[in-house]
Amino acid sequence: MRGIISATGYLPHWRLDRAEIAAVLGSGSGSGARTVASYDEDPVTLGVAAARSALNGIPGTDRVDSLSFATTAPVYAEKSASPLLHAALRLPGSAATVDAGPGLRGAAGALRAALRSTDDLVVVIAGDVRTGLAGSGDESGGGDAGSAVVVGDDTVAPLVAEYVGGASATREFLDRWRAPGELRMHAWEDRFGQQRYDALAADAWDRALASCGLTDGDLTRVAVSAPNPRSGATLAKRLGSAGVELTDRLDRSVGFTGAAHPGLLLADLLERSGPGDLVAVISLADGADVTILRRTDVAVDGPTVAEQVASGAALPYARYLAWRGVLPVQPPNRPEPARMSASAADRRAEWKYGFVGSRDRSSGAVHLPPARVSYRGGTADDMEVLPMADRRATVATFTVDSLAYSPSPPVVFAVCDFEGGGRLPLELTDVSATDVRIGMQVEMTFRRIGTADGIANYFWKARPLPGPGVAGEAN
């Protein structure tokens, strides 16, 4: 039986209260909050965060055959981003990776392909940072998120949802467009796109039901992902009259998260559903893609999308504008970091991307980064590989550096001691300088350290363990 082994959403820590936008610009409206990727997050890191969670606890990740990655905000035009995710997730070298984009529809298309493929395990990842000009509908209505869906056979791992069937509908029409690298989103009159989407949604939906021998009323719960809150409303209304529950599109609490949205809503849908529920995701993105699933009795792990929606911390609008480069701010008068060396990064790929250290077999001393000679006892070349990304650490001491170069000063820096041994001085993120304490528990997170010569440089930082109610200023 083919189906979904896990599906997770990742919401970044920061929230922008939409009322703040109107307060600053003197125009616009909107209520609720949108999620905001930190200055050191991008579609790749958002995708990695979601996929780490999705792959957590799945036996046999060495059987991952392929990985796809979708975003509307690609890090590179020429270079593929998917191998970066592959490296951070420490997937086998035999896996194929592909960038399913750019463009909104890549994520839904990749999920469709995964459900119909014969690969043992497929990881479908999306990450998006939705920006737009100050005051635009995309700024207030967008959100940043990552999502990941692990697809496979129940012979590999237990399924949280069985694939029942699906259908797609395609027709070219111009609704929204943006040139590569352009900040501003352009859109045709909303009503035109809505009507086109309504027609495509109905077409795909009816054929999906027909292929499975189902009717509207058989469905328990349906999620509709669309770039515009009113697109798909006609079908939603029809399903509502048939007694089908429509899940929250997360417009008010998260925003439309672009390529990440179908996966995010799928994760939320499965988290809300119980054994036997028949559920569906309808993704409207330059076409329509319907996926019908049956929830099994396999439990899903948290943190759920709903739990993440309820956490997070407020970010001032000015800081948001600076982080996204919408409002350029004066950088510190320090030399910018040099670009990384491709060959040095290649030699240390397991460390840089996978956060893998080493442990001296004779003394047990942990080395971060991995070393050949032990600091304790001096034994040479007798180290074992030690993955550290999933280990928690405790802040031994810390400092706040207002002078160091950073895209968002000050730098909060802590000496972190890991569970089971090992120490590394690390930059903290998703934290306010005043909230750091000695003894604070932190977890590792894959982040974009900076960009030099067009090269996005990634490494790991530490962040406070998230929990419900942590600095819950948002919403």
């Binding site: 990384m340 060396s341 001491t397 400092t399 002078l403 930059e427 000695i438």
Partner: protein, 397 residues
């Protein structure tokens, strides 16, 4: 341990030291020439009379040609050395060993750094290609980690420690105010320093060494030849150096309240010089006060104070200009700034003046009963540093 030292086999017979400044009008060449000629002049030597040279510069030039070209040296070896912030001291260490070995009769070490041509504030390291995983913290922030760790370990109220650190800065500024070669010559009181905004941990800019250009030079000969050049040479009593292996960054047992590299370098130096009670045998010490917590911890690492008590000794004035053991009588890095290649030799220059009674009266210390002085450098960060300790004496043992 196989460290034997070369006590009393090499003598310092002359020194030169430029003012440490923002020398907008002087380049590396000018600074090196000025310090070298100032050192050679009083003993009647020309550059061509020196048999071998060591040039200490961290990143103002590469190879011995950086010194040979401006001085137009002909047919002699010039070795450029770099060892982080101990670069200047390292140049001298190598020159001393060359003379002690008998390879050369007259050797010179020149330390120079032209920092202020970068266009940026602070010291900025030469970028070496890396995998992009290295931290980008400032040195101030790395050393700021010491203060809270020290306060917690020894039960010192952080507010009280704040004042102790300010007192260290204030003392060094008071000394520097009496030194025409110093960059900053204004006295700063403790309250004014405590009122400054924090820039890294609890440190303000007044807890940090300044940034300046400068150069210093020293001429060394075999001890038995010293009196051919001067009636008042200094003798090399100890030279020690430890390059840390970075284990402090890896080892959860390291607690940021001490610098093992400095403790080990001091222990070796005292053994070489036959010193058993440095607090009472040394007339003075010039230590690497890159940041105020550094000087605090060094008082313990160098054996001047018992563990956990340096803050009290600082408060009691033990290390003041006329205290029990004056430290940084010339004003230290705090007043001079830190042209990396020159700083170690600038420290020795102060010992050269003080031990020979040649320091200006307003900062002259009493050396009647004590004829030994110590210089100390460190480079790197807590957990991963190099350390130099040198001991110098006015009497040949």
């Amino acid at each position: 341990m196989g460290s034997h030292g070369i006590a009393d086999r090499v003598a310092i017979v002359s020194m030169g030291c430029t003012a440490f400044r923002e020398h907008w009008d002087r380049g590396v060449d000018d600074l090196a020439i000025d310090a070298t000629l100032e050192a050679l002049g009083p003993i009647g030597l020309q550059p061509g009379d020196v048999d071998a040279w060591w040039l200490g510069t961290a990143q103002s030039g590469m190879s011995g040609i950086t010194l040979a070209a401006p001085l137009k040296l002909e047919g002699v070896p010039v070795t450029r050395v770099e060892n982080y912030c101990a670069t200047g001291s390292e140049a001298l260490r190598q020159a001393c060993y060359a003379v002690a070995s008998g390879a050369y009769d007259v050797a010179a070490a020149v330390g120079v750094e032209k920092v202020k041509d970068s266009g940026y504030q602070g010291l900025n390291a030469f970028p070496i290609p890396t995998d992009g995983t290295q931290r980008t913290l400032t040195a101030a922030a790395m050393f700021s980690l010491v203060a809270p760790a020290y306060a917690a370990k020894y039960g010192v109220d952080p507010a009280e420690l704040r004042r102790t650190l300010a007192r260290i800065a204030s003392k060094n500024h008071a000394n520097g105010a009496r030194n025409p070669r110093a960059q900053f010559r204004r006295e700063m009181d403790v309250d004014a320093i405590c009122a400054m905004p924090e820039v890294a941990g609890m440190l303000s800019v007044f807890d940090c060494a300044g940034v300046a250009d400068g150069a210093a030079a020293v001429v060394v000969v075999r001890a038995e030849d010293a009196h051919r050049y001067t009636d008042s040479p200094l003798y090399v009593k100890a030279l020690s150096f430890v390059a840390g292996n970075g284990s402090g960054l890896l080892d959860p047992d390291y607690d940021y309240t001490h610098f093992p590299e400095c403790e080990l370098a001091a222990r070796d130096a005292y053994a070489q010089a036959g010193i058993t009670d440095p607090r009472r045998e040394l007339a003075m010490a010039e230590v690497h006060d890159c940041f105020t917590p550094t000087e605090l911890v060094l008082m313990e690492d160098l054996g001047f104070s018992e563990r956990g008590t340096a803050w009290q000794d600082c408060e009691a004035g033990v290390f003041d200009l006329h205290g029990d053991l004056p430290v940084n009588t010339d004003g230290g890095l705090k007043s001079f700034g830190h042209p990396v290649g020159a700083s170690g030799l600038r420290m020795l220059f102060e010992c050269w003046l003080q031990l020979r009674g040649a320091a200006p009266e307003d900062r002259r210390i009493d050396t009647a009963d004590r004829g030994l002085a110590l210089t100390h450098n460190l480079g790197g960060y807590p957990g991963e540093m190099v350390s130099f300790v040198g001991i110098w004496g006015s009497e040949r043992g």
